[in-house]
């Protein structure tokens, strides 16, 4: 799904150009080349225990301040100069609340990345650094001083754009970092002033509700999850005889079965969401995506002809595991620990649940109504066939990595899902009324026939 597995979005490289590039990207792709000297991007992931920092430092600028000829073979800079680079960075990055008792700066990883921004002109290499700022005991991560002058101590016009990518306690969990300021030489004094990070006071409650909202967003945009569960529920109200879906099994039967399936799915994805968020398992995203598409296909076929009648809960549980792994992808780059993580998983999961219940509440009653008419079998089979086509489209898309007609059309169509649900509602009511009338007519005819005879 487009929105479900977003790769962490890169920050724009060019100060001021941020809005311009957005504008260009939207309206005139390809005509925006730029060559203002590139700045550093600093992305902060703030939680209660530490501040995780990602730096994106352009090599042409770093070469000037690191004073070594690193531009010659940029691909191998980390291998060649790793330790010296670490020393250099540590000498120019300090964080503290009390200057005499600075925080630990722990460099987690460094790697080279080729700048791939088509819009900003020719690609250039950048050094990506992941580091953690670890406060002293009982010190707050929300308000501290960042004394940072990497590159800028030497390159007078260089600037560093500081953005908060994740701020758990404020419910900011986003792929679009929020710019909080610029570290650069103060033009009046020509010095680099220590930069104060001062985030709005947050709370665990805000973090929790932020995760809840994110969970809801995920289901709203992750149409494949919904399609899976709805398709699985589609024939749940029907009885099976002779290995065929037959007639409506009554209200009690329906509700019981619906609840069983939903609960199994929920338990399944909750377990793997937790496991995934803890980072205990790492399964390639593409593989998970493909299995999810397969799960949709399987439930569509089951809706046409019962494959695993009576064992739906195991299927729901099994595929729930897979869907949960997909949900957990989102939580992984929040760098959350202990209590935050527990609250996050809970909030996120509840958000997913709330949205799921809302969508099920909006669709399933119509299935129950329709399943009481004799047209339901046709409706069910047509719907399931369409879903299976969509699923195959998605499988192909996810295997090949390219969109195709079916997957593109599905993605577009699903943008209109609220209208589709409304249509479903009207359609089911029409069917129901039609069925009642026919039934009455038949009964009336029978009465007349009886009277006459």
């Amino acid at each position: 799904m487009i929105l479900l597995f977003k790769t962490s979005s890169r920050q724009n490289k060019w100060r001021l150009l941020f809005p311009i590039l957005l504008y260009c990207a939207a309206l005139t792709p390809g005509i925006c080349l730029a060559h203002q000297s590139p700045n550093t991007n600093m992305l902060l992931d703030v939680n209660t225990k530490m501040v995780a920092v990602e730096l994106q430092i352009p090599i042409p600028e770093l070469a000037l301040s690191f004073k070594r000829n690193i531009s010659e073979s940029p691909a191998t800079i980390v291998e060649q100069y790793g330790d010296q680079l670490k020393d250099y960075l540590k000498a120019h990055i300090h964080a503290y609340i009390n200057k005499d008792n600075p925080w630990d700066v722990e460099i987690v990883s460094m790697n080279m990345d080729k700048g791939t921004q088509v819009l900003s002109g020719p690609p250039f290499w950048e050094l990506r650094v992941h580091l953690n700022l670890l406060p002293n005991k009982n010190e707050d991560t929300r308000k501290f001083i960042l004394d940072y002058d990497v590159v800028m101590h030497e390159v007078i016009n260089h600037t560093t754009l500081v953005s908060v990518r994740n701020d758990w306690e404020n419910g900011v969990i986003t792929d679009n970092p929020v710019e909080v300021g610029v570290i650069s030489r103060d033009m009046q004094t020509m010095t680099i002033k220590p930069f104060e990070i001062n985030l709005k006071k947050g709370s665990s409650w805000k973090g929790f509700t932020g995760m809840f909202r994110l969970g809801m967003e995920h289901i709203k945009n992750g149409t494949d999850h919904l399609l899976f569960i709805i398709t699985l529920l589609l024939p749940a109200c029907l009885l099976v005889s002779n290995k065929k879906w037959t007639v409506y099994g009554g209200m009690k039967y329906s509700i019981f079965r619906l609840l069983k399936i939903i609960t199994a799915f929920t338990i399944g994805h909750s377990i793997t969401l937790l496991i995934g968020a803890l980072g205990l398992v790492k399964i390639p995203v593409q593989f998970i995506e493909i299995i999810i598409a397969v799960s949709i296909l399987v439930s569509a076929i089951h809706a046409i002809t019962p494959l695993f009648y009576g064992k739906e809960i195991f299927i729901a549980l099994g595929f729930g595991f897979i869907h949960g792994l997909a949900f957990s992808q989102t939580l992984q780059n929040l760098h959350l620990v202990s209590m935050d993580l527990a609250l996050s998983v809970l909030g996120f999961n509840l958000g997913i649940e709330a949205m799921q219940v809302a969508v099920i509440a909006a669709t399933i009653p119509w299935f129950i109504i329709m399943s009481q008419t004799r047209y339901f079998r046709i409706v069910k089979n047509v719907f399931a066939s369409l879903v299976s086509m969509a699923a195959i489209g998605w499988i192909l898309q996810r295997v090949t990595g390219n969109g195709n007609l079916v997957s593109d059309a599905t993605d577009k169509l699903l943008l209109f899902s609220p209208w589709l649900i409304l249509g479903l509602c009207l359609f089911s009511l029409t069917l129901f009324a039609l069925a009642k009338r026919t039934k009455k007519a038949v009964e009336a005819e029978n009465t007349v026939f009886l009277q006459n005879s």
């Binding site: 000037l64 390159v155 494959l307």
Partner: protein, 463 residues
């Protein structure tokens, strides 16, 4: 049961395959184009025509009720009323509603209204193009009056829509909208050269020419050469480079009594000239850059409009004694100018660095003035002289500083400005000039130039 499942899957796969395979085609159609309404009264004409002046333009005629059919180009329809113009339908494809485009060309033989009776898709109507009397003659005016006259003459060639895009409010936000980057209109205001007809572009350039110097490699000639150099970058790198992305814009209505600003520029050029009550009150911010820094055009002419700027700065530094050079040198490196839009907050450093001009030898002092003149003299000679007087009077409190230039030695002009980050700054009570060598973007093996010319007290004057 198993057979059923297999059947199910197979049919789903086959159907999906068919859908994917049928992605294209279904285009051959013989239906003719029809529309239910043509609205000539809402026609948009790209530009006003002028008597006896060759005209090219387009007319967009809105329609509704189109039947989604493609139509081919039409044959020329001659104008009535004012004759001499023809309108030709351009090929296209109908949507449910949209506009037909007619290309209009020819030379109008009288002034007034040229009418075109058109018939399309079962509907007919008639649209008109206004033909002005002979274009305004500004040759008798001089100075700011001439700039204003030419600005009005340019405006007269534009459609009302174009006029609305080119005359904007004079405020700080609009005034600050200039850039060194090849970002066309997305980082600038006004009209792009590429959107203008030949006659309109000529009229636009006449305004710029009147406001700038007539000397070779200065003023207007320098602007044209930088503009042209972008076509070299376009040929080498494509994308957003090219003379057509340059723009012209008026902030405020051009007049000899009120206050207004002429903005023109594009990649590697920004001109911002403010007029108030008939005189030039600000000639900054101004920016010039050049890549490649020298090239030869098809006629064999060497194009290097910033060579004299580089020479003037190099001569200036070379005329410093070794001791003076040591005092002028500042620490740190520069990868670009400081006062370029976007790289600063537009705040000038409050402390001047380097060497004070009053402490230099008289030869060196004269060379500082010569270097300044290379930027100031880009303006029309009258305003240039007025501004040179201001800057000359402030010369003794002006500072010169430079960074990098590690090969630079006293007495050798050619030893300066040879590699990336070689940088110089002239910073006076008013004047601010920076000039820098940067690694090329399209030609990374060469250096290229960036420069800015600002004024501490006159940038965005009064805004």
């Amino acid at each position: 049961m198993k057979r059923k499942i297999v059947l199910c899957i197979t049919s789903a796969v086959v159907m999906t395959a068919i859908f994917i395979a049928c992605k294209k085609d279904s285009s051959s159609s013989t239906t003719s184009a029809t529309v239910t309404a043509l609205t000539c009264s809402s026609a948009t004409i790209s530009a006003t025509a002028t008597l006896n002046v060759a005209y090219t333009g387009t007319a967009s005629i809105p329609y509704t009720g189109g039947n989604s059919v493609a139509y081919s180009a039409g044959s020329a329809i001659s104008s009535t009323g004012v004759t001499g113009l023809t309108a030709t339908l351009a090929a296209g494809t109908l949507s449910s509603s949209g506009s037909l485009t007619y290309n209009i060309t020819g030379t109008p033989t009288s002034s007034g209204t040229a009418s075109f009776a058109i018939t399309f898709g079962g509907q007919s109507c008639s649209f008109t193009v206004t033909v002005n009397a002979t274009a305004t003659d500004c040759s008798s005016s001089t100075g700011v009056a001439k700039v204003v006259c030419l600005a009005n003459a340019f405006l007269a060639t534009l459609s009302t829509t174009q006029q609305a895009s080119v005359v904007l409010t004079l405020n700080l936000a609009n005034a600050k909208l200039w850039s060194n980057l090849p970002c066309g209109l997305s980082c600038r205001d006004g009209l792009a050269f590429s959107s203008l007809t030949t006659a309109q572009l000529t009229a636009a350039k006449a305004v710029i020419a009147a406001a700038t110097s007539t000397t070779t490699d200065q003023g207007y000639d320098e602007f044209l050469k930088i503009n042209n150099t972008d076509s070299v970058l376009y040929a080498a790198a494509g994308g957003g480079y090219g003379p057509g992305y340059y723009v012209i814009c008026f902030l405020g209505t051009p007049s000899t009594t009120g206050k207004w600003m002429l903005q023109f520029g594009g990649h590697h050029y920004a001109g911002n000239i403010t007029f108030d009550a008939g005189s030039v009150v600000s000639i900054t911010p101004s920016h010039q850059g050049l890549e490649p820094k020298t090239w030869t055009n098809a006629n064999g002419t060497v194009i290097a409009p910033l060579a004299d700027e580089e020479t003037a700065m190099a001569n200036m530094l070379a005329s410093f004694s070794s001791t003076e050079l040591t005092s002028a040198k500042i620490s740190g490196s520069y990868s670009d100018c400081l006062m370029i839009p976007g790289s600063t907050t537009n705040t000038f450093p409050s402390t001047k660095v380097g060497i004070q001009v009053s402490s230099l030898s008289s030869t060196a002092q004269a060379n500082v003035l010569l270097a300044m003149a290379r930027w100031v003299n880009d303006l029309d000679s009258t305003s240039a002289a007025a501004f040179m007087t201001i800057y000359t009077n402030e010369l003794s409190s002006t500072y010169v500083s430079y960074a990098s230039n590690s090969s630079g030695v006293s007495g050798s002009a050619s030893s300066f400005f040879t590699t990336n980050t070689d940088y110089v700054r002239i910073d006076g009570p008013s004047i601010w000039i920076e000039f820098i060598c940067q690694t090329g973007v399209v030609y990374p093996s060469q250096i290229h130039y960036h420069s800015v010319f600002r004024d501490h007290s006159r940038d965005y004057i009064g805004l």
